[in-house]
Amino acid sequence: MTLSTDDTIVAIATPPGQGGVGIVRLSGPHAWEIGRRLFARRSTSAMRPQRLYYGTVIDPADGAALDDGLIVGMRAPHSYTGDDVIEINAHGSPLVLRRIVAAALAQGARAAEPGEMTLRAFLNGRIDLAQAEAVADLIAANSDAAARQALGQLEGKLSERVRTARDAVLRALAPIEASIDFPEDEVPPPDRAALSSLIASAETVTAELLAGAEQGRISREGIRCVITGRPNVGKSSLLNSLLRVERAIVTPIAGTTRDTIEESAIIGGMAFHLIDTAGITATEDPIERIGIERTRHALSHADLALLVLDRSAPLTEADHQIAQELRDLGFSTARKLIVVLNKSDLAPFPAFGRDGETLRRDVSVGLRAHLTERPPLSSFAGEELAQSVPVIATSVVTGEGLPELETAMVTAALGNAATESAALVARARHVEALRGASAALAAAQKTLRDHLPLDLVAEDLRDAVYALGLITGESVTDDLLGAIFSEFCIGK
């Protein structure tokens, strides 16, 4: 019913941002095993609990050194969560910490859901009131209206897919269960080959969804969102703000050049690949021209662009140029665009107006007022913009408008069929449920092949229905009985 507590989870335990030291925490039965694989140190003596060891954090996949750091282990129940725990202290760079998390994921850990470490501490009776409040806040944040609505749409689409798998399993299960519970009724004996092919059809769905959920694939194929705008409008701080509110950590991909910075975040349950670009300006400087080419390249592969403007200053030639570039690349028509009026904590530039309700009109007017002499852009900035492009005022200082921006990003992403399926199952809970279902289906096939009694096949299939029901929120019994009674005439 709830998150499982017998697997190993990983998360960055220190607050986001550039601190002196950052901690990656692993909690669960395999914490020590995974922790040891992530750590190379000279001494080969056995690690003892509550002791700090110095060494090199490595990615066991290729042996690459990630950082120098300290490792400390705690044994259940003497730890923060009450589980076996490993904490890796590294230098505080977010990139390094995420790489360590990624390596832990690759070694079999699961990304912790928000508040999950604290939840385990609860379950193991190791928590104080202040921490309890913190978890309550996290859950509340998860259920705030805007995020929930966006998530609701997403989960609706996921549930649809999961339901097709679940229905197939129920169809396999119904004749078995009917023949068990109503042995004297005329229930035709279940056909093993038919069962196997129904199970296989469910396996196909879970395999597809799981493939989409693989962390690496989300990084590669998540929604590519380019943050663009002239220098000094607050692109980087906006990126940081979006990362600060990220819901889970996924594999980072380092930027390929100094000019574009790429980060991944889960927003509203969907994976976003955020790309901070250099501004596009008319320049003869060959180095800057390379930067601009790269920006163009990033834009041409993006699913979504955020055009960041400075609301406290008049629009400039550079704003205009970027807007034109976006229009030429098909944003706002074939691809999605969101206009972000940043720095809304400062006094707005008069042409943008003050009133939130008239903001959309104001920005159109504002753009028009400044750019009327350039017809192509005015049409972009006029009607078309007003019709289909969300305009959102934000302040990375006060946090104003960030939830609305996230919602708009998720909504924009949902409209894009190509990105949807890759992003569908980003939540750890869903991945866990799908893995459970997939294992149960494989077990059912094996039980069938081994010619064991059908009630054992039923046990596997019920596990699968249960796991899939964790996503769709349906219970095994009611639906199973519904399937039995609608399909077979049972009457004692």
């Binding site: 019913m1 859950i139 068990i180 004297e184 054992l456």
Partner: protein, 670 residues
Amino acid sequence: METDEINEISDEAYDVVVVGAGHAGCEAALAAARMGCRTLLITMNLDSVALMPCNPSMGGPAKGHLIREIDALGGEIGRCTDRTFIQIRMLNTGKGPSVQALRAQCDKHAYRLTMKWALEAQPNLVLRQGTVNGLITDPQPGPDGRPHVRGVISGTRRFLARAVVLTTGTFINGRLITGDKTTPGGRAGEPPSLGLSEDLQRVGVRVQRLKTGTPPRIDARTIDFSRTQVQPGSPLPLRFSFDPAPPDVTLPPGPPAAIYPLPPEAVTAWRPQLPCYLVHTNERTHEIIRANLHRSPLYTGVIKGVGPRYCPSIEDKVVRFADKPDHQIFLEPEGWRTGEVYVQGMNTSLPEDVQLAMLRSIPALERAEIMRVGYAVEYDFVPPDQVVRTLETKQIAGLFLAGQINGTSGYEEAAAQGIIAGINAGCRVQGREPFILRRDEAYIGVLIDDLTTQTITEPYRLHTSRAEHRLLLRQDSADLRLTERAYALGLVGDERMEAVERKRHLAAQALDALERTIFTPAATIQAHAAELGMAAIPQKMTATELLRRPEATYAQVAALAERVGQPLPPIADAATVEEVECRVKFAGYIERQERAVARAAKLESLPLPIDLDYASVAGLRTQARLQLAKIRPLTLGQAGRVEGVTPADVSALLIWLQRHARQPRESARS
């Protein structure tokens, strides 16, 4: 003065009063009395004690499991069935051991009399005829905020009690319906119980209506048995009870009635049995039903209660499965020496003339005469979200409900609730801890947990598919699971407990020996294996590994071990053999289910207060808030099973619990 004296005389005081002597009431009263409580069992008609108003059949999948569990707890239903069955069979023999189940056909009247005699023979138990028409409750709420029940009123008499168990079946505001005829009644020929429903509502209990039905009974002498298919009883000895003593059979004296043909293949040496007889409906039967649907109270709207999906009327079957050319009809003798035959599968509330016409459309029944007409019954039940897992009502302390009043169907379901209500009434009187069975411990636990967390929309019947952990709940392991707990309460004697301990010990010994016994592929061993009909041993393996082969049996493996000089403990008892074989063959499955149980145990053990103000719990979604406030689960685990409650809601409740533990009741009260 004078009237006071009369009251003094007519007031009788008991520890526990049980109202209704059906299958729930009998087990409740026996359990309370066996625990040492002075117990009164009061019922409207002493000739209807433990009556089987529907099919005189006991057991089947899940239901047979319940009987074994009740028996393991010291209940009477298993022993009473063993003494009175006219046929017994093991069902699901082609399937795995967890779903095999016993089903018996009882002599309806022998059963009733045998159970009545068990009640009369029970010390501490008083059996009385009378109609209860009111409850006595304290006018003021007690320390837990609820009024306490103080007894029941029967006419002008008052029976005082410290706990009351209501097992009123279909009698509360019962209404019998055949065609366009409606008569008030709890069962055919018996009046309903009026007044109690109003009294329950007066103390704040909600009631709703349900419907169930029963088929006609026909005269055996008017059946052409030559045109039926004979279904004989088991050729091997079978019985429900774990009691080491074999049952003393209490059927009516003499051989079975000669009207029932007993072909040689249906004669069973170990105990005389009667067969059942199978026939089928045909297109003509269905035509008659379709032509008369307008006269069916189900379709005319006379019946408003909801009927069960698993026990549809014949009219429902014909309408819903229109393309099915025939339906099975089992003709089941209602007893050893009676010509009344139960027409199973022909459950109906169509008018009598239609019932007769459709019966006579079946070749074997062309001359059939009806002895009793089929009917539907509509009755009040108390939606069981109003009871907790001890079956005590949430509104009234000391008042327990069991059986059909809780919206269930079936003798076994009723008896299971009866024994739990009776035990808990006893626990309450004796100041003991509540007696609760978990879903992973017993089908009884599944039944009661479902009742207290799910919304009942049709009469509830237990199915094995309702249990998450079927492999842990085999019928043959009920004694291992439950008898020790019954023993602690005085419900079973030393002899039963010792038998369980022997079985447990022997199984453990055998498992240990299997693990330590090693077979090598040596030629001598191969030769022995071949002689015993076993496949070759390809490499060195333990006896456990050998037994894990699908076709291998303990007897075979033991024989092989014997021949190579490493004898395994001999096991004579089939149930113990099965315990050992299951533990070995299905070890992977059992371990998986045990892990799942252990994982859920943490949540199951966290109690939620019954008066929790869900509006004050931060982070709960509205739907969860409403459902939880209605169902009021008692543990966090139960809360998770309530419809519409998500894992996030469970987390929110966890946090609330933590806070509550730190700021105890003072702040909650102020």
